[in-house]
Symmetry: C2
Subunit: 300 residues, 2 copies
C-alpha cells in the first residue's frame, strides 16, 4: 500500500533525519524519523537510508527536498554555501546522486559569511519558513541549539549572522570537565539561572573565574546539582548575550524553538528588557522546505 506522496520533505541533520510525506497541496500525509544522521553515514549510504525511511510512501517518481548537514562536504552531496547578504533560499538546489531513477533528491545549500567567518546549514530553511509564515518580517532571529545562530533579517534577506556554540560547550563542560561531578542529573533551579545570567551580563570579564566556583561551592557549601547546572547554563547564555548584544539590543526578536532551551533564551532576553516571540522549529522547517519545493516547481 502506498500513500502516493507527491513529494517528500527532509530535515537531515548530523544526528537525526526527519521525513514528511507531502501532498500536492503541501499538507502532511505522514511523518517519520530515524537516528541515521549525516554523522553516521558514508556518502554511499544515504540513498538506502532514505529508501528505508520512506518505504510505502511512493509508487512512482518522487522528489525529495532536503536541508541540513546532508549537504555538507561529508554528506550525501556538497551544496556550496550561498554568501550573505542573500535570501535564505537560493535560486538553485543541489542534486544528490541516486541509483533509483524514480528518486530525485534536491539539497538546499547553507549560508556563509566572509567576515566574521561563519556558516550555517539547515537554519537557512527555518529562516525561510519563518519568513513564509510572517511575510515582510524584519528583525533578529535567534535559533537556539548546539550551535545557536543569531540572524539579522531585513527585506527578506539574511544580512549577517553569528554562531555561538553554547550548547556544545554546556555538553562538553558537564560531560568532560571536573564540573561533571557537580552538575549531574536533570534538576534545575531557576533562580540560580537568573542570577548567574545577570552576573555574567554585568561583568562578562569575570566568566573564567566563575566556572570552578560551581565545584568549590558544592564541596564547601553543599551547592546542589540542580543549582550548579542552572548556574552554569546562566553563565554560558549570559556570555552569549553579552557577545551578541549588537544583534538583539533594541530589535524585534523571534526565537525559533519550542523546547526548554528556547524557553531559556526567551527568559534571558526578557530579563534584559528584550521581549521575543517564539515559533515552533518543526513548523518553520516544514514551511521552509515547502517554500523551496514551490520555488523549484514553479520558478519565477
Amino acid at each position: 500500500m502506498s500513500l502516493a506522496a507527491n513529494w517528500i520533505a527532509l530535515d537531515w541533520g548530523t544526528t537525526h533525519v526527519r521525513a514528511w510525506a507531502m501532498s500536492a497541496s503541501a499538507t502532511v500525509l505522514d511523518q517519520r524519523s530515524s537516528d541515521k544522521g549525516m554523522g553516521r553515514l558514508d556518502p554511499s549510504q544515504f540513498e538506502a537510508a532514505l529508501q528505508d525511511l520512506i518505504t510505502g510512501w511512493t509508487n512512482g517518481p518522487v522528489t525529495a527536498i532536503a536541508c541540513g548537514m546532508v549537504g555538507a562536504r561529508q554528506g550525501w552531496a556538497e551544496a556550496a554555501y550561498s554568501a550573505v547578504p542573500c535570501a535564505p533560499l537560493p535560486d538553485g538546489l543541489t542534486r544528490a546522486p541516486t541509483h533509483d531513477p524514480n528518486l530525485t533528491v534536491l539539497i538546499i545549500p547553507g549560508l556563509s559569511q566572509d567576515n566574521p567567518a561563519d556558516v550555517m546549514r539547515g537554519e537557512e530553511t527555518q529562516i525561510a519558513g519563518f519568513l513564509a509564515l510572517n511575510p515582510g518580517w524584519d528583525g533578529v532571529l535567534c535559533l537556539p541549539g548546539t550551535h545557536t545562530k543569531w540572524v539579522e533579517v531585513s527585506a527578506g534577506e539574511v544580512v549577517s549572522f553569528q554562531t555561538c556554540m553554547t550548547g556544545d560547550l554546556f555538553a562538553a563542560i558537564t560531560g568532560h570537565t571536573v564540573l561533571r561531578h557537580s552538575t549531574g542529573g536533570t534538576d534545575w533551579e531557576e533562580a540560580a539561572f537568573d542570577s548567574a545570567l545577570a552576573d555574567t551580563l554585568s561583568r562578562p570579564e569575570k566568566l573564567a573565574a566563575r566556572l570552578f566556583s560551581l565545584r568549590a561551592e558544592g564541596l564547601l557549601h553543599g551547592l546542589s546539582a540542580g543549582a550548579a547546572r542552572a548556574r552554569l547554563s546562566g553563565l554560558l547564555i549570559g556570555a552569549e548575550l553579552a557577545a551578541t548584544r549588537p544583534y538583539w539590543l533594541g530589535q524585534q526578536i523571534g526565537v525559533i524553538g519550542a523546547g526548554a532551551v528556547a524557553g531559556l533564551y526567551v527568559r534571558a532576553l526578557a530579563a534584559q528588557g528584550a521581549p521575543a516571540t517564539q515559533a515552533d522549529a518543526a513548523r518553520v522547517t516544514l514551511a521552509g522546505l515547502t517554500a523551496a519545493w514551490r520555488r523549484w516547481k514553479d520558478p519565477k
Copy 2:
C-alpha cells in the same frame, strides 16, 4: 638491597604519583613515578600502590609525607582543608591508615576559601616550597595546570586565591566539541596565540562569539589546525587574565612550572606589561614536602 631512605616525599595527584627517596639531610637518593593516581584507586588500594612504588627503598620504619588529591574525600584519607588566610602548611598532618606497622603516611591538607568559594590540594605544598626557597617573598603566584591557581601571598600566608579551569576547558573543547575537527595535532602558531589573547583582553565580552569562528575560518578560509589551536588557547588564557586582573596587575608575579603551558602564561603576562619569574614545579613541590617533613620532625 635497600637505599635506606630516611623518609619519603610523595606528590600524589589525580592521575599520577611521584615519589622521592630522601636522606636525613633531605637530599634526593632516588625518584620514581607511576600512573596510579588517586582517580584510579579505592581507599583500600593506596597502601599496596605505595609499597610497590617504593620497593627496595627502606629496610625498617619509614615516614612518607604526601600532598595532593591523596588527601581528598575519595583519596587515602581525607585531610580537612585549612581555611585562608593561613600559612600554606598547617601545624598538623593527617595520618592515613596503614597495615604495615613500619609505614607512617602523613598527608598535607589542602586550602579552602569561603567566599568566593575555592579549594586547592597540592598547590599549597608548592607555595610553601616556593616560600622556603624565597624567604620573605610577597606577591602573586600563578600555578598553571588543569585548574590554574592564582594565589595572593603576604607575610608567609596565603591571603586569597582564585581557580580558573582553563586547562580543563581547553581539553574538553578540543576533545569533545565541534572544534575537535579544527584543532587536532600539535602544531602551534605563536602569532595566533598572541592576537587572540589581545582580542579577548580588550573585549572579553566577545568571547562567546569567537569560538565557533575557529571552525568557520577553517571551512571558509583554510585556517590551519596549528593556528586554530593556538588561537583557542589565546582566547581562553585571555579570558582567564581578564578575570584575574586584580590578582596580577601591578604585582610581583611568580609562575610555578617549567613546561610549555607555564611558558604561555609568562608570555601572556609579559604582553600585558606584567613580567613574571618562573620556578620549576617539581623543585618547589619537593621543597614544600621537605618543609613539612622538617616541621613534623622538629615542631617549634
